[in-house]
């Protein structure tokens, strides 16, 4: 199981996966906006999406778990 965390605080502008989706390493799962820049958050390993803990428009803190992949 791997937790995909926010590399920095920011606003969620897109969520690209749903629970049950399969992802590969390097896939963009969430797009954050921080420092007026888009910041793709990528899967650090492949697997099936177990949890998605954020939705479009959320503000998230650095290190918070956005997606859990199993």
């Amino acid at each position: 199981m791997s937790e995909i965390t926010a590399p920095m605080g920011g606003k969620v502008i897109d969520v690209r996966v749903n629970p049950g989706d399969s992802v590969s390493e390097g896939d963009e799962v969430v797009i954050l906006e921080a420092m007026k820049m888009e910041l793709p958050v990528v899967a650090n390993e492949g697997g099936t999406v177990k949890e998605v803990n954020c939705k479009k428009g959320d503000s998230v803190e650095a290190e918070s778990v956005l997606v859990v992949v199993e």
Binding site: P7, M8, M35, K36, M37, E38
Partner: protein
């Protein structure tokens, strides 16, 4: 004894010294995937060039039965030789002799070659594989460390010092590598820490493995103590050779210039498209770095640490340069504490060893946050300013996109004695981004508007068109030239060649007081 016997004795003594801790221990070293101290030297140096010093030194400890445990060389092999024909001094700690533990004579051997390196002006390479202080020697061992540290400091900025960690390196032993210019760690077999997992557990109840605490990746990603992580002893030694190629023998010399087979006039039309039109979209700054450097070769330093800043060595027209760049792909390329320290230390190393600085700027600003402020981003951010303003080597800067506020000043701007500043047409150089500036400057207009959001958007667009460009800065002479991105390589090389004989200095003082 006749002459023949004397010659035989020398042969036998040499053989004994060369055996280190004995065949069994050498095999154990191999079983761990490590080379022996002498094999490492043979791999690093040009064949047959090694000249050993102090091969027969033994320790002088008579406590704890140590008088019965004497091995010629006493756990460290020292001397000099050449790497690609250039002289280096080196010491190679021998884990097979009393765990590579450092005795007073061991320390004296290391100091002897460090003194020679300072006098003759040649790099020092330290191959570390040691259990730490030789406890039986007590404070004598500490003296050995202290004398080495002092020489590390005195050599800093005089001759390049490179540390390779190829086994344990714990306690006081870690300070010597930390005082050198660059540290390379071998994955799986090396570790560094001040206090190990057991002590940590007793004191703070934290449980951590040796690898997680002080392994190669821990120090390459989290602490920033190490600059390179390599797969094997051989790969680490190859890295040493590569690094030495970019550095001069001492601060009195220039790094070697290599004949450039890559056309200095080479243009790259793909650079016109690298920076995305939408300022919110990230890209990989390394695409630009690799495109412009000779043979598209870039040796990235501190690759895994503070990836929002990219630093490393390359060549332009055969001349070794230090490259520093913001990385929009990581944390938006913002400046935070780690990136600031990474940048400042690299800039100072390059300046110390006469490497021109090539800086690529795309920085949205310093990272906001309570942790950053409490952590001291003010002083660490100031380090970048200090390092660039202090540097007297040629400094050429290319602003590819964002350069806002304090971060614009810090990143090798004209105001910090930058020599030549270029900007791409996509550059946005201003005191702050269009959104922030509009909210402040046009607050009254926006508040008074019947449709504040529409008014705001329109004003942001106007501000972007009028101010978020390279042309305001170019009108003031803060940008010397707005260049077509495809011309980056020829423009950098022409500027660098113009600056080849640059001579300048900063006001005399005992030494500056960089914020630490």
């Amino acid at each position: 004894m006749d002459i023949q016997q004397k010659i035989e004795e020398l042969k036998n003594r040499n053989l004994q010294a060369e055996l280190g801790g004995g065949e069994k221990r050498n095999e154990q070293q191999h079983a761990k995937g490590k080379l022996t101290a002498r094999e490492r030297i043979a791999y690093l140096l040009d064949e047959g060039s090694f000249q050993e010093i102090d091969k027969f030194v033994v320790h002088r400890c008579h406590d704890f039965g140590m008088e019965k445990k004497k091995t010629p060389g006493d756990g460290v092999v020292t001397g000099y030789g050449t790497v690609n024909g250039r002289q280096v001094f080196l010491f190679s700690q021998d884990f097979t002799v009393l765990g590579g533990s450092l005795s007073l004579p061991f320390g004296e051997k290391v100091c002897k070659i460090m003194d020679l390196a300072l006098k003759t002006g040649a790099p020092v390479v330290g191959l570390n594989d040691s259990g730490g202080a030789r406890i039986q020697e007590g404070v004598g061992s500490l003296s050995g460390y202290g004398e080495i540290f002092k020489r590390n400091v005195w050599s800093s900025g005089v001759v390049p010092q490179i540390s390779v960690i190829m086994g344990p390196c714990a306690g006081g032993a870690v300070y010597s590598p930390a005082l050198t210019d660059l540290t390379i760690m071998v994955k799986k077999t090396s570790n560094m820490f001040i206090t190990g997992p057991q002590v940590i557990k007793t004191v703070t109840s934290e449980e951590v493995t040796t690898e997680a605490l002080g392994g190669a990746m821990a120090h390459n990603t989290k602490s920033g103590v190490a600059h390179f992580a390599e797969e094997s002893d051989q790969a680490a030694l190859d890295r040493v050779k590569e690094i030495l190629g970019f550095l001069p023998q001492s601060y009195r010399e220039e790094a070697p210039v290599i004949e450039c087979r890559d056309d200095p006039e080479r243009r790259d039309e793909s650079l016109n498209e690298v920076v995305p039109g939408n300022p919110r979209v990230p890209y990989d700054i390394r695409d630009i770095i690799l495109s412009v450097l000779d043979n598209n070769e870039f040796l990235e330093v501190h690759k895994y640490y503070a990836q929002n800043m990219v630093v490393g060595f390359g060549r332009l027209n055969g001349i070794a340069v230090g490259v520093i760049a913001n990385q929009p792909k990581f944390l938006a390329g913002c400046l935070d504490i780690k990136a600031s320290v990474k940048c400042a230390r690299f800039v100072r190393m390059c300046d110390g060893f006469n490497l021109p600085l090539i800086t690529f700027v795309d920085v949205p600003g310093y990272l906001p946050g309570v942790n950053q402020e409490y952590g001291g981003i003010i002083k660490f951010g100031a380090e970048i300013i200090y390092a660039y303003a202090e540097a007297t080597v040629p400094k050429v800067t290319v602003i590819t996109r964002k350069a806002y506020g304090g971060a614009y000043i810090a990143m090798a701007s004209k105001h910090l004695a930058g020599d030549i500043s270029f900007a791409y047409p996509t550059a946005e150089i201003a005191v702050m981004g269009p959104e922030g500036a509009t909210n402040i400057v046009f607050k009254k207009e926006i508040d008074a508007s019947a449709e504040p959001e529409a008014t705001r958007e329109q004003l942001v667009e106007e501000y972007r068109n009028n101010f978020a460009s390279p042309f305001r800065a170019a009108e003031l002479g803060y940008i010397d030239e707005v260049i077509f991105p495809e011309n980056t390589r020829p423009k950098l090389i022409t500027a660098l060649m113009m600056l080849r004989k640059k001579k300048t200095s900063i006001p005399e003082r005992r030494h500056g007081n960089i914020p630490l």
